[in-house]
Every structure is written in structure tokens, then in C-alpha cells.
């Protein structure tokens, strides 16, 4: 049984527009059987934070290609991507590269 986690979820580069324009979200993830990883964080975000057009943020079980994910300011590609296990007080930042020029 994993204990509840307190993490900061941030959106930038235009991704915040899908979340009522709010960039920073301080969230508490409830305790659950499985450890929290990015894969089930995305499911939680879709259910609890995402306000509109989910297909512009999530495709399949991952983020839409073109959205960068930084975990504690490091590229998730260095940290196992969807399999990264969240720690208490982590900051997860999603930056869209798809907006504007």
C-alpha cells in the first residue's frame, strides 16, 4: 500500500490552456495499492485536472507527442518516462512545444 503523495504538477508552453490557464497545481495523490508512476499520474490528471480537449494532452496511455515532461527539472527520457515512480514533493512539469512560434 503506497502512502498518499504530495506533488506539484505544472503546465507550460501553452499546455496550461487545457487546464483553465492555471500553470501550477499543488495536488495530493491518494494512497493506493500500486506505487504512483507517471503512467497512472496521467490517468489521474485526465480525471481530475484536464478541463477540455483531452486528446490534445493525452494520446493512448502517454502524453501527446510534442509535449515535454520534466521531472524535478530533468527530462523524463532520462528517468524511465512512464515508469518513473513518483516521490513525495516531486515537481512534474509538462511543456507543450506545439503552440505558437
Amino acid at each position: 500500500m503506497a502512502a498518499p503523495l504530495s506533488v506539484e504538477v505544472e503546465f507550460g508552453g501553452g499546455a496550461e490552456l487545457l487546464f483553465d490557464g492555471v500553470k501550477k497545481h499543488q495536488v495530493t495523490l491518494p494512497g493506493q495499492e500500486e506505487p504512483w508512476d507517471i503512467r497512472n499520474l496521467l490517468v489521474w490528471i485526465k480525471k481530475n485536472l484536464l478541463k477540455e480537449r483531452p486528446e490534445l494532452f493525452i494520446q493512448g496511455d502517454s502524453v501527446r507527442p510534442g509535449i515535454l515532461v520534466l521531472i524535478n527539472d530533468a527530462d523524463w527520457e532520462l528517468l524511465g518516462e512512464l515508469d518513473y515512480q513518483l516521490q513525495d514533493q516531486d515537481t512534474i512539469l509538462f511543456i507543450s512545444t506545439l503552440h505558437g512560434g
Binding site: 507550460g12 501553452g14 532520462l78 505558437g100
Partner: protein
Amino acid sequence: MPAPPCTSCHAARAALRRPRSGQALCGACFCAAFEAEVLHTVLAGRLLPPNAVVAVGASGGKDSTVLAHVLRELSPRLGISLHLVAVDEGIGGYRDAALAAVKRQAARWELPLTIVAYADLFGGWTMDAVARSTAGSGRSRSCCTFCGVLRRRALEEGARRVGATHIVTGHNADDMAETVLMNFLRGDAGRLARGGGLGSPGEGGALPRCRPLQFASQKEVVLYAHFRRLDYFSEECVYAPEAFRGHARDLLKRLEAARPSAVLDLVHSAERLALVPAARPPRPGSCSRCGALASRDLCQACALLDGLNRGRPRLAIGKGRRGLGEEGPQGAPGDRAQPPASETIPAF
């Protein structure tokens, strides 16, 4: 699981994996490498000679923000001076916020800024007015095409007003790869042939243009802005969702997920492409109205404005590319659509 150490300094933790090389670098080493690569692109391509007065096409978006910031860092080495030129397309609600971002940048970086407006340059036409005029004509998807043609002209005009000798735009590798894909999908061999290289040398009296970020991936441009804490504007233009470019972008992103080097490979493919003589575009002449480079009697911008002023915007683009003097019968049965004019990149 912590991030591995930076493969350059071995001191800090790596902050990203570079798309092309797979190299893991910390934020500081990445930013230094990014700047060194832009410097190399400019020097190796001899894009900006010493004493050049460089007009930076500034939209407030990520690409031009990063371009202006990097060139400002490099300007003592290059011996160039910079002038931001922003274009006010007249898009209510969208461009005002973007221009506010450009003004903040100009103030923070102490760079001169000049704003040129479509309405002033093009006889009162704003992009919103163009969009209203094309709505219902079946050309509403072409807003970005119209806007790209006009923006290119506006940037040229703004650059001349400030006495610039060169124009730079923020197009990155992903923009270039999208354009290559679009030109392929539209069968536009002429544009494929012209698309290679780092810019245009300034034929026909036009100012030389170049794209110093052409080999930088979108991911790296965005992460550079992030690690340097640059403030940029990131809302999508209200007209962009209609554009064909979005489909090319989605396709490219999926290709990149399967093969991270796909973006740069496409850019290089276009550069190495050789066309059979029959597919090569005709040598451009000059526009009979404004004197700008044109492959027809009128350049694209003049043809487009002419169509708009006659209340027949569809003449200006697509079929109208044949030139206004060669107008065929309109909407004749079996009149198959001509290949549409390629869209120029919707933002600089």
C-alpha cells in the same frame, strides 16, 4: 532513480537527452552547446558578416525569443547589431498579447523594436478582415497561407525601415521538416527545390534572409527557453487550427517518436534533393507592380491583395497562382483543383 551525470562536465546531473545524439547533458552544458551550435551555423554558412545590421523577426513566441536571446549573446563575437521587427497582423486578442511579450523582451534586452502593421502596409487590410473576406469562400483554411505571404512582405518592409542589411527568422528544424513534408504531400517540386539551404541570399533586391536555428529541434528550442528562464508567448493563433500544417506536425511528431532523428533527417533530405530539369521552378523575374521577386507577373503578396480588393480572394491563391492575366473560366465543370500554393510557415 536519479538522472545520470552530465556526459560533458561529469559534475551536475543531466537535465535532458539530446534528440539527435542521445547525449545526456546538464542544463548549463546544454545551453552552452546550443549557443555554440548556433554560432557554428552562422559562421560556417557565412550567414551574418561582421557589421551586419540584423532585423530579427520577433513574434513573441518561443522560436524568435530564443533566436533573439542567442544572437544577443553572440553579437559581440559576430560583430553584428540587432533590431527587433515585429509584425502586427491585426488579429484581435491574439496578436496584442504576443506584441506585449515582444515589448517586454525589447525592454529587458535593451534592443530597439519596430512594429509594422498589416493595416498600414496593405491599404487597411488586417488579418481579421482578410479572414472575414475569405469566410464561406471555401478558402477559410487558407488564412495561414495568406498571412504567411503578407508577413514575409511586412517583415521585409520593416527591416528596410530600420536600415537592416539582413533578416533572420526563428524557424527551427521541426518547422523546416514540416514544410518539407507539406511540399511533398502537395507535389510542390518548385518549393522543395527552393527549400534547401539556410536561407536566401537576397535575389532581386530582397534583403538576404537566414534561419540560424534551422538545425535546432523544437524540443531543444523549448528547453533552452526553459533553462534560460525566457519569457515567451505561447497561445495558438485563432486561425491556426484550420491549417494543413497541423496535420504535417502530428505526422512528424509520430515519426519522431519512432525515430528521434527523423526531423533532422528530413531537413537534410530536402537539402540533398536533386530535381530533374523539367521540375525546376522558372527563374524568378520581378513583380510588375512592386518590383519584388516574382515567378509570375505579380508577386504573391500583390496578387493576393489584388484579389482581396476585387472581392475575389480565391483568385489570389491557389488557382490565382497562374497569374491574374491568365484567369481561366471560374468553376467550370470538371475544372479540377490546381495544386494549392504552398503555405509559408505561419510564424517566424
